[in-house]
């Protein structure tokens, strides 16, 4: 196991070291000590390595991640796992705004709550939040799955495309063109798999599914309200 202490190692050196890991590296386990809320920790990784961050992170931790598994043993600042392509990011605490924004793939697990705009413009990622999510989450979400074991804030799924949203608790309000949809067997299967991978005890049957009414897909002046 490799240990990098940010008390003594600069961000540039940290990321350069992690970027140097390739598909065939035998240094597969890394620990980052003393992150102390630094920004851009472990962003742009592209190797099958496991990175454990022992503490809370600032903006854009695990941004654009590919392949790597990144565990944050604390809370994460804005834009955690933004534009993630693949791999897994698990946050033990809470996540600030824009968690998983525009992410194309991989799995993002937030064991606490997520703030506003969780999954904004998501493009294929799977996001599981054990707690609640804030307002304007999944805004313009294109594809992928957002699972919320708690409650959702205002304007969930505004201007949604083809992403699937699953919420166990209450939804304060739905955004434009977002509607509740029928939960079919394939959705229960999908949900069971995501909950298991995210280590959640929630039952798929407890969730409601939301998606796009597809009324905004073609330009219509009547939508300009």
């Amino acid at each position: 196991m490799q240990v990098i202490d940010m008390e003594t190692v600069a961000l540039r050196e940290l990321n350069e070291t992690l970027h140097a890991q390739t598909d065939t590296t035998n240094q597969t386990k890394w620990v980052i000590d003393n992150p102390k809320g630094a920004h851009a920790i472990a962003c742009g990784l592209d190797a099958p390595i496991e990175v454990t961050v022992k503490g809370s992170t600032g903006y854009y931790c695990a941004g654009m991640n590919k392949q790597a598994t990144i565990n944050i043993k604390g809370s994460a600042g804005p834009g955690v796992a933004e534009n993630m392509m693949s791999g897994t990011v698990v946050i033990d605490g809470d996540a600030s705004q824009y968690a998983g924004a525009t992410a194309h793939g991989g799995l993002l697990v937030i064991k606490g709550n997520a703030s506003s705009r969780c999954g904004i413009s998501m493009k294929g990622v799977d996001i599981v939040v054990h707690g609640n999510i804030g307002h304007m989450s999944a805004f313009m979400a294109q594809s992928g799955n957002l699972v919320v074991c708690g409650d959702a804030g205002e304007a969930l799924g505004d201007s949604l495309y083809e992403a699937r949203l699953f919420v166990r608790g209450s939804v304060k309000s739905l955004g434009a063109d977002c509607v509740e949809k029928e939960m079919r067997p394939e959705h229960l299967t999908l949900l069971a798999d995501l909950l298991e991978r995210a280590e959640s005890d929630a039952k798929p049957e407890e969730f409601k599914r939301y998606g796009s009414a597809r009324q905004l897909y073609n330009f219509n002046i009547d939508n300009a309200y």
Binding site: L11, R12, N15, E16, H19, H39, A40, C43, G44, D46, G58, Y59, Y60, G63, M64, K66, P78, G79, E82, N83, M85, Q97, Y98, A101, T102, H104, R117, I120, S121, K123, G124, F139, M140, Q142, S143, S159, Y161, E162, Y217, N218, F219, I221
Partner: protein, 447 residues
């Protein structure tokens, strides 16, 4: 005019300047359809522009260089502030961001070919980077847009520079759209959207708000790309002094400033014609911001919006820009709006030179379309040759003017080489009105 009733002349019919024929036609169109007009291109209204400035040339007080033989440099390096690998260009004319989706694959290829032959850069657009344009562009700037369509770290790392798009001149504060007619299978796949839907591009970035956040976003992008490539920030011509100041504060290596004549693939006509400032009014303010920060020439300024010839390029240099970007002019060089397709333009209810319904995907020239039959009309190799020729002519023109002003590099052109022929241009560009040493608002004058 016919006389009648006792021979008295009748009142001559007079068209209203306020309710002109085009205005009335638009009212009728709106009344009939209930939808605002969407089109491509930039502002069509007459605006104070570079034509309102003239070079003084050399005489007794300035010594010219020989117009055809003496060396007049045109090279420019962009991104010297922080990037390990700044972009070095042979000419100060770059190709502005235009998306695959808005343009055909062949048109993107031609832009890459022409720019590479001319020794300059081209730029991706909203929709991601295609292998064709990467392959044919020696220097490729990768746009980082609010939609993040096709955004991925691999393309980020194979770009020569990253341009964070905050706004554009055609629609400062507005998002983009690509109507369903142009969402082909390939475009849909690259953007991760269903085929045939009207695709919206957000007006603001999803994961940062304001210059303090942007500073951290830039840190992330630099970390991902190893601090190698320059980071540009593109803004529309809205509040150029403050926008430039904040872009520099956020960490830009290069500021790209796009005036309201700058084109777009598609947006509302009311937006194009009524929001933003002409580029002439923006350049000096942006330069002033850089000078106030002590960073003029260290953070480079690229300006765009209605640049058409070498005189425009030289005037931008004289006003303090480091380089220019062209979009609409490059498309015209490729063959857009060429009169040879007049019959086809007529069939679309328009005429060559006026065609701007680029969003409909029916471009007779095969440039702003995804229709395979129309695209087949366009030859990327010939397009590249034409663009290279055009860039060469613009460069020769700018050099000719610079030499006449006694300058051995186009960057040595200065405001003192210019005069203005209108009060508006004098005020906007802070250049003395011809025959005077005064412009409106000149410090030390009370008017």
């Amino acid at each position: 005019m016919k006389d009648d009733h006792k021979g008295a002349p009748r009142t001559m019919p007079i068209q209203s300047a306020t309710f002109s024929n085009p205005v009335n036609a638009e009212i009728r169109r709106a009344a009939a359809t209930g939808i605002y007009d969407i089109r491509g291109g930039g502002a069509k209204r007459k605006l104070p522009h570079f034509d309102d400035l003239l070079f003084l040339g050399a005489s007794m007080s300035r010594y010219p260089l020989e117009g055809y033989r003496e060396k007049c440099e045109t090279s420019v390096t962009l991104g010297t502030r922080y990037a390990k690998n700044p972009i070095e260009l042979d000419i100060p004319i770059t190709i502005a961001g235009m998306s695959f989706g808005a343009l055909s694959g062949g048109a993107k290829e031609a832009l890459g070919r022409g720019a590479t032959l001319a020794g300059t850069s081209t730029t991706t657009g909203d929709g991601g980077m295609t292998n064709e344009e990467r392959g044919h562009s020696n220097k490729l700037v990768y746009q980082y847009l609010p939609s993040r369509y096709g955004m991925n770290p691999d393309d980020l790392r194979r770009a020569d520079a990253i341009e964070i798009v905050v706004g554009q001149g055609a629609k400062p504060g507005g998002g983009g759209m690509l109507l369903g007619q142009k969402i082909s299978d390939r475009v849909a796949e690259m953007r991760n959207l269903p085929k045939g839907i009207d695709q919206r591009s957000a007006c603001r970035h999803p994961d940062w708000t304001g210059p303090d956040d942007l500073e951290i976003k830039i840190l992330e992008l630099r970390e991902i790309t190893g601090w190698k490539v320059p980071i540009y920030i593109k803004v529309g011509g809205a509040r150029p002094y403050f926008d430039t100041t904040l872009a520099v504060k956020a960490g830009a290596d290069v500021v790209v400033l796009d005036g309201m004549q700058g084109g777009t693939a598609a947006t509302q006509d009311v937006f194009i014609e009524h929001v933003g400032q002409p580029i002439l009014a923006c350049i000096r303010e942006a330069v002033r911001a850089l000078q106030d920060l002590g960073l003029h020439r260290e953070v480079q300024l690229v300006v765009s919006g209605g640049i058409r010839n070498g005189a425009d390029v030289a005037k931008c240099m004289a006003l303090g820009a480091d380089a220019v970007a062209i979009g609409t002019a490059a498309l015209i060089a490729l063959g857009d709006n060429d009169p040879k397709w007049e019959a086809d333009y007529n069939a679309l209810g328009t005429t060559a030179g006026a065609y701007d319904d680029w969003h409909e995907g029916m471009d007779p020239a095969g440039i702003t379309t995804q229709d395979p039959e129309l695209m087949a009309r366009f030859d990327p190799i010939e397009g590249g040759r034409r663009l290279n020729n055009y860039l060469k002519v613009m460069t020769l023109e700018a050099q000719t003017i610079a030499r006449a002003c006694g300058k051995s590099h186009v960057h040595n052109l200065e405001p003192e080489d210019l005069c203005a022929v209108t009060l508006e241009a004098a005020a906007m560009a802070k250049i003395p009105l011809a025959g005077t040493d005064w412009y409106p608002g000149k410090p030390g004058t009370s008017y």
